[in-house]
């Protein structure tokens, strides 16, 4: 069985760079690549009733947009380099979702980009890369 690598993206250049880096590693190791687009979402927010009513529809729209604008073109581009690539869209906390996906897909390594935020910003808003490094069940490569 071939190894599986997992790359997390969020529509930013940093994420794209991480996916491309992971694709190069996958090609060298003849591994399969899973590219996961994580839409940041928490089940513990306070919404208006109308937002709740429309939520299912909005969720479908978010997934379609992520696929059409970011994931599908990226997956197509990576496939052209001759590796096996699978694209996924998930909602949730990025670090938690990627950590869970590593278990689900049997990935042996996770690749993510970083936003290059300051220590203060990381303290206030949290850092996906920092959190993932702490909770991931497999080695994490943070692509600068």
């Amino acid at each position: 069985m071939t190894d599986t690598l997992l790359a997390g993206i969020d529509g930013s250049e940093d994420g794209k760079r991480a996916a491309e880096f992971a694709a190069a590693r996958a090609k060298a190791a003849k591994a399969r690549l899973v590219v996961a687009y994580v839409i940041e979402w928490s089940p513990y927010t306070f919404n208006t009733p109308e937002e709740n009513e429309m939520r299912h529809k909005r969720r479908e729209e978010e997934i379609d947009r992520a696929k059409a604008q970011v994931l599908d073109p990226l997956v197509a581009a990576l496939k052209s380099s001759g590796i096996e690539v699978q694209g996924l869209v998930r909602h949730g906390h990025p670090a938690q979702v990627l950590s869970d996906l590593a278990g689900e897909t049997g990935a042996c390594q996770i690749f993510i980009g970083r936003r290059g935020i300051s220590r203060m910003a990381a303290l206030l808003f949290g850092s996906v890369a920092g959190t993932l490094v702490q909770i991931s069940p497999v080695p994490v490569t943070v692509v600068p």
């Binding site: 089940p43 306070f46 919404n47 208006t48 009733p49 109308e50 299912h56 069940p137």
Partner: protein, 514 residues
């Protein structure tokens, strides 16, 4: 629920505004008041028909709500206690399928429904109950709150069970749907349709009045109080305040401006936490007084001194406050809870158990304890309502009235947003779901914000208050007929839960390797 003050103490809030208004524009207010007063009075006297009990008035609608709550409690074999922990696990998301990430969670449905009930009633209404019924009213309030949990469970389960789910995944639910569909299943389609329409009409009236005009008026009174009272700059600027609030409300409900909704979403729970923290600090700072306070609450519940009607008087005040505050039996929250993503309607009912618990057993009790511990309820000045709560907190934190003013306004705002939705859903139930009808209702809702804050329409508000409780008449009749449906679903769910067929996902997440 906060609008109850209007019925409880109409003169308390309306008099100052009425005097101010009469001096400047005797025309419009007076004309509307005179036109509406006879009809309003007649309806109010029917809905809030009270019987004298041991020297105090006992509104029968409170009895109607409390009896239904007691029956639901016994009928579901104290589900509130049996399922208390399981409900917390549901709220935490332990049983939520990870594939449903991004959908409306149990927590979100509960939080949205709570923002419609937690508010001025928890701050001002409790003060009224304790000042009239003495410390013992607290005991009965907690008891009624605990019983209300089972009633809320039933109505929110039905709301999800009989909601409409459309092709694009949007949902519409609430009493109007379970009354018509649920009773239809029981071969009572005619009665169901009648009750549903009756409920919807009352809900629209209640949304425009108690859920809107009363809120606008109360917030404006708070603004006047902190900007120099009747002589201050804002005293005669009700229309201005109303316009500003109407624009903000409109931008959220019509414009769909997310940022404003986002801000209130963050700030309102924050205010609730600040309020409870302040209450806890006061309680802890006076920890030596706590046994005395509890003694006062217990002895006051059964043999109070100086309370009109004695133990019954205290009981009436406590029951009334609980019923008016957590809205169990009114059916409003069922509309908000219906949006949740779940395959098991029972789960949302169980989650909704915590709504009366948080609203009445936690927050109302905090207010009551602060008032009892600081001894503010036995004041010489005869204070009641927000004023009493404010002075109780002020006796420990001198700056608290300002925080309280902000809290009242924000709570009022979030209540308006919630009720605009309840009214809208009832309106579209009656006229059909289309964008034009929705826009018309939303515009009318915004206009009523201005009317509510610029005029002293006591009779109109009394009327809309009674409309909210008229919702309970239709809703509870339907609930009695549909309780067996809920019981059957509960038995099925409970058996599957105990048999391990309904599994936790959270524990599965911890296993990463395969």
């Amino acid at each position: 629920m906060r609008h109850k003050l209007a019925a409880a103490l109409p003169a308390f809030f309306w008099t100052p505004a009425a005097l101010a208004q009469e001096a400047q524009e005797p025309g419009i207010d007076a004309v509307i008041n005179e036109a509406i007063a006879p009809i309003s009075d007649a309806i109010v006297s029917v809905i809030f028909y009270s019987v004298p009990v041991f020297g105090t008035q006992f509104p029968l609608i409170v009895l109607w709500l409390v009896i239904a709550a007691a029956i639901a409690t016994v009928y579901f074999k104290f589900i509130a206690f049996r399922a208390f922990k399981h409900a917390l696990e549901l709220i935490r998301g332990d049983y939520t399928d990870p594939k449903d990430a991004g959908e409306v969670s149990h927590f979100q449905a509960l939080a949205t429904a709570l923002s419609g009930t937690v508010g001025l009633g928890n701050i001002a209404g409790v003060a009224i109950a304790v000042s009239i019924g003495g410390p013992g009213a607290t005991f009965w309030m907690i008891l009624a709150g605990l019983m209300g949990m089972s009633l809320k469970f039933a109505e929110c389960t039905l709301g999800v069970k009989y909601r409409n789910v459309y092709a694009d995944g949007t949902v519409s639910g609430g009493p109007m749907y379970y009354l018509s569909k649920g009773l239809g299943e029981k071969n009572m389609a005619g009665l169901g349709k009648f009750l549903a329409v009756f409920f919807a009409v009352c809900c629209i009236a209640g949304a425009l009045g108690g859920g809107n005009m009363f809120q606008a008026n109360q917030s404006f009174q708070q603004i006047v109080n902190v900007t120099g009272g009747e002589d201050g700059f804002m005293a005669d600027k009700g229309w201005l305040f109303g316009l500003v609030v109407a624009v903000i409300v409109g931008s959220v409900i019509i414009g769909g401006i997310k940022s404003i909704a986002r801000v209130t979403e963050k700030v309102v729970p924050f205010m609730a936490v600040i309020y409870c923290t302040a209450a806890l600090v006061i309680i802890l700072a006076n920890i030596t007084e706590v046994p005395t306070a509890f003694a006062a609450i217990f002895t006051g519940a059964f043999s109070p001194e100086g309370v009109a009607g004695g133990a019954i008087g205290a009981l009436i005040q406590g029951f009334k406050r609980a019923a008016f505050s957590n809205e169990a039996g009114v059916g409003s929250a069922s509309i908000a809870h219906s949006a949740v993503r779940t395959k098991e309607p029972i789960t949302e009912g169980l989650v909704a158990l915590h709504e009366p618990f948080i609203d009445t057993v936690v927050i109302c009790t905090m207010t009551a304890l602060v008032i009892v511990i600081t001894g503010s309820y036995s004041n010489e000045a005869g204070m009641s309502g927000v004023e009493l709560t404010s002075s109780a907190f002020e006796s420990v934190f001198p700056w608290f009235p300002y925080i309280l003013a902000v809290a009242v306004i924000l709570f009022a705002f979030s209540t308006m947003i919630s009720w605009s939705y309840y009214g809208l859903k009832s309106w579209t139930y009656l006229v059909g779901e289309n964008k034009t009808a929705e826009l018309v209702f939303k515009l009318v809702f915004c206009i009523f914000v201005v009317i509510g804050s610029s005029m002293s329409l006591g009779p109109v508000v009394d009327f809309s208050d009674s409309a909210i409780f008229a919702m309970a008449i239709a809703n509870i009749i339907g609930l009695y007929i549909l309780l067996p449906v809920v019981k059957k679903d509960l038995a099925s769910y409970w058996a599957r839960l105990k048999a391990g067929e309904i599994k936790k996902y959270r524990t599965a997440w911890l296993i990463h390797t395969e």
